[in-house]
Amino acid sequence: MENIINYISNLAIPSIIVTIIFYGLKEKTKVFDTFLDGAKDGIEIVLKMFPTLLGIFLAVGALRASGLIDGLVKLITPLTNFLEIPSAIIPLAVLRPISGSASMAVAVDILQNYGVDTLIGLITSTIMGSTETTFYTIAIYTSAVGIKKTRGILIAALAADVAGMLASTIVCRILS
């Protein structure tokens, strides 16, 4: 049974790639040129991410090495235990709606330190996949048309984020 599940999930990415390429060929798209165009965007994503990654890693690295994070995690553990949330993901939960690249950097840091396939790793990945940079998104779209009154939309969006994060922890717990 486990072998079958593994086989299917191994099949997932290659078959997505093949399906998309197949469609491209069928409709006579210049697949390789198009691929190169997209890959160039990828370089831009990583280049834009790099300074933030470096900055956040520097701060988080210093925090961790100083022993301060361990101290803080110990302090909030009773609360997070009560909510059944691993305390390691709290910094991520706080940063996620504020900054995309910073929260990605914190997520990577968690994945490296706690393992990609551990429960904490899975929750971290699920949170990153299922939530957005709420503040940034609202700011971009409202400022694009010069709107000031948002009718409480931030509350709805943040509530959705919290719901998504709680759902991530619960679903990963059940599935693993």
């Binding site: 990654l53 210093a62 990609v116 010069g146 709107i147 000031k148 009154k149 509530a159």
Partner: protein
């Protein structure tokens, strides 16, 4: 925000380390994290470029039209005020498709276009219209078919099963989306 937090983090770490005698660890820790950031960015470069390239191909094919058709009923449900505004609906649909395919860079410009079209019909120009509220909340909910960036990072970090998060991500996204949409529908009725 980070302009305040970042220096506080660094100053606090150094002060804490001096008090508790961990300054040597901090010294090496800082430089280790720098090389980690460089190494990781290099591994990300490969996987993220792969997905951006593949999704760019998807963007050029009729897979887009198929998604467009699938989305129609949802868009009609979410944006009842836009009944006769085909252009706005089309732009919203393109923005959602870009989000679904994980093309964040393409989604934002398309979304701004949709906002501008909706602003034309907006009666109070400095306040969000009902449709705009719903549109923004949906964009904060990260509807993604395949969370390619996260999968790319999981692959770079040698995950045994990088795609294992797809189903949890779907479930969490749907729950977040339902909460966001419901609250927005309530806000639309209550807050004028």
């Amino acid at each position: 925000m980070l302009n305040i937090l970042w220096p506080i983090f660094i100053i606090l770490s150094v002060v804490y380390a001096i008090i508790f005698g961990n300054i040597e660890e901090v010294n090496t820790g800082i430089f280790n994290s720098l090389s980690e950031a460089v190494e990781l960015s290099l591994t990300f470069l490969g996987t993220i470029c792969l997905w951006s390239g593949i999704m760019e191909i998807a963007k050029k094919t009729s897979l887009i039209n198929k998604l467009n058709k699938l989305l129609k009923p949802f868009i009609n449900f979410l944006f009842p005020d836009l009944k006769n505004n085909e252009i706005a609906k089309q732009e919203i649909s393109m923005n959602m498709i870009a989000n679904i395919l994980g093309l964040g860079n393409a989604a934002t410009p398309l979304g701004i276009k949709a906002m501008k079209t909706m602003q034309k019909e907006n009666k109070v120009k400095d306040t969000l219209s009902n449709s705009m509220m719903m549109f923004i909340v949906i964009n904060t909910a990260s509807i993604q078919l395949i969370p390619t960036n996260v999968i790319a990072i999981r692959t770079s970090l040698n995950s045994q099963n990088p795609t294992s998060i797809i189903i949890p991500v779907w479930i969490a996204t749907i729950i977040a989306g339902v909460v966001g949409i419901t609250l927005t529908k309530i806000l639309i009725k209550r807050v004028k």
